[in-house]
Amino acid sequence: MTSTLGTTVKFEKIAKSFGVVRVLEELSLDISPGEFLVLLGASGSGKTTALRILAGLETASSGRVIIGDNDVTEVLPKYRDVSMVFQSYALYPHKTVGENIGFPLKVRKVSQAEQDKAIREAAAQVQIDQLLDRYPRQLSGGQRQRVALARAMIRRPSVFLMDEPLSNLDAKLRGHMRAELKHMQSELGITTIYVTHDQIEAMTLAHRVAILEKGVLQQLDTPAKIYNDPINLFVAQFIGSPPMNVVHGGLEGTTFKSRSGLVNVPVGGKIDKAILGVRPEDCTIVAPDIAEFKGEIYTIELIGDHTLVTVKAGDDFITVKAPKDFSGKSGSQIGVSFSKERMFVFDKETGARIR
């Protein structure tokens, strides 16, 4: 994160509404130079709107955007020194790969010789230097993605913006490009803001993740903190695959009670409608007589290196990450035990975490 290239980016109480629909509610972000920040959220969470406001493609209803030392809230996109990779790549279909990559320099009236040099350098960086004379229609999805990346980085902008750049690729290529993207960003040291709905991308790429829901920032923290210390039920359920188990019940003192059992939790209080959250890897299958929760096996899915066992306990389904050699039968009675320090309790009404 120590780079001369990176620039700070600041959102100051950015709000946006389209007519009566409020898309973003007073979003404030402080992004340090060279940081890789991921805006994570479901569709309609306002993450793309935030990115477009930063790019200048959308104007904020209120608030300020600051890049470096400049207030760019009312500055045209072309003067903001940001470049963007679109989900659809937005390559110019009538231009060759070389012309596509060189377009940002061409409109800046850079000399042809310098353009050619820069194009070759940028293309080499994403390994498409042998494709410069082709047209976008002759390229595969992954190659198009690389062209879009090369075009975004050719003029060394102060900020990179990426709007779900990997979502059009197939799973294998996506993993590969993800690793390359991360490597490239740390090498270039350019501040990057990356929008995605894919939690794996967010967890793997980001220095920090900002989770948005319905235009409201839920949590802004490192991936590890977000996973291990979620601020509320939404964040807890959004991150993690398979998602965190939820058990409905009530909290009395330090005892969480549900219809299928009771367990001592590390927090205390008195809440009639509470939710106990435990990640599948923090659950273990045990014999019914020593277990905190009892239920019957609903399904068993062998993933490869582990087995996912779904247990029906009362009205709740608890997924347990079990060893790959787990043997059990659908419908048989079984118990589930939770690891003590890894249980979270949430208020069902507000979704807030009880600490």
Binding site: K78, L91, V107, P136, R144
Partner: protein, 394 residues
């Protein structure tokens, strides 16, 4: 179950099924194939025959035409070039000198409005080959007005497709009111036009800045677009008298400039309407990406948008060209001799002293349709699909 499966297997289909059922999805049955091709061939004959008839009539003479229908050249009748000679060879002014002189005249006439305050060229006698004159007139007027029309129209259409306009209803009303006042004071109160116009404009800006803030109802791009296309609802014949008087007032009657202006204006709505749809169909990400890359609005239009709408642009150009080339009503009022176009010349053959000179008329028609066919062949290459391939799909 088993017997029914057996029946619909290909080798066991009845004659009726073979006739009326398609052999595969995406193919036609024999009967419908027969019917559709019959209709198509019949219609093709219907369309092609008049063109054939015009072409062979151009090679007939008075007797061959009058003695009844002859259909096949060299068999029914002996074709000759008499009618062509009347137009091209017998005309005493169809030589290099006359044509050169005529070109000078054309340029002078086209620019008379602009150059006459600076210097005046002695009005030249129309010692000219009429067919050649009409042809070059049509060519110049058609091409220039099409070029103007398509460039202005597509720029307007692009603006309407991508920029949001919100003119206040009240401001439009104020503008019309002030325009009426300006006209009234100029014509009836004797105030010089430049003075009244300046005052009117100043008043408009003043009122629009102050009163305009109070108006709430606005028009939108859709309203503007509809207003533009509504200009084409009136038939030209309705507006021809005012148009005639306007050109008479500024001394542009019977000039190329007049016809170029009126054709451009008359076809602008069609270009705007057609191009607007083509621009809307472009993925907006391309333009947004270009904006972030640092391109100006005009270079986005020129470098990204226009090349991608090339098929639409070619189709629109062709349509506009055909409309301008064939236009009759405006031309018949505004041009008298020097700026006469081909359609006028065709119609003139109708009114000879010796009755209708069909063979001569057909020569003019043949000369007239050749450039359009050539243009169609050239532009048709651009009206291809798949230009956007590779732009946005993964």
């Amino acid at each position: 179950m088993k017997t029914s499966t057996y029946k619909i297997e290909k080798s066991h289909r009845s004659l009726l099924m073979r006739l009326f059922e398609p052999p595969a999805i995406g193919k036609m049955s024999f009967a419908s194939k027969l019917l559709s091709y019959f209709i198509l061939w019949f219609w093709a004959l219907f369309v092609i025959f008049p063109i054939y008839w015009v072409i062979i009539t151009a090679f007939k003479d008075a007797t061959t035409v009058n003695q009844g229908p002859f259909y096949i050249p060299f068999v029914d009748f002996q074709p000759n070039l008499n009618a062509w000679r009347v137009h091209l060879a017998d005309d005493p002014y169809c030589n290099a000198y006359a044509i050169g002189r005529q070109l000078l005249l054309l340029i002078h006439n086209s620019l008379v409005f602009i150059v006459s305050p600076i210097f005046t060229l002695e009005a030249m006698e129309p010692q000219i080959c009429k067919t050649y004159l009409a042809f070059t007139n049509s060519l110049i007027i058609g091409l220039v007005s099409t070029a103007l029309c398509v460039s202005f129209g597509s720029m307007a259409a692009y603006a309407l497709a991508r920029v949001e306009y919100k003119p206040k209803f009240g401001n439009i009303f104020i503008f019309i009111l002030l325009a009426l006042c300006t006209i009234f004071t100029t014509n009836y109160a004797g105030i010089p036009w430049y003075f009244s116009t300046a005052v009117g404009l100043a008043l408009f800006f003043l009122l629009a800045r102050t009163l305009g803030k109070k108006f709430i109802r606005t028009l939108h791009n859709g309203d503007i677009l509809f207003w533009i296309i509504s200009q084409r609802i009136l038939p030209p014949i309705v507006v021809i008298i005012p148009v005639y008087i306007m050109f008479q007032t500024v001394g542009l009657l019977d000039t190329h400039l007049a016809l170029i202006i009126i054709y451009t204006v008359a076809n602008l709505p069609i270009v705007v309407w057609l191009m607007h749809d083509f621009f809307l169909a472009l993925p907006i990400e391309l333009e947004e990406s270009a904006q972030l890359d640092g391109a100006s609005r005009f270079s986005i239009f020129w470098d990204i948008v226009l090349p991608l709408t090339r098929p639409g642009l070619a189709a629109t150009t062709l349509l506009t060209l055909i409309l301008n080339w064939n236009e009759y009503i405006f031309a018949v009022f505004i041009s008298t001799s020097k700026s006469q176009t081909m359609p006028i010349m065709v119609a003139a053959k109708n009114a000879g002293e010796k009755g209708i000179l069909w063979w001569e008329m057909c020569v003019v028609i043949v000369i007239m349709i050749i450039p359009v066919i050539l243009m169609a062949i050239i532009l048709q290459r651009f009206i291809s699909r798949g230009v956007l391939l590779g732009a946005i799909k993964g």
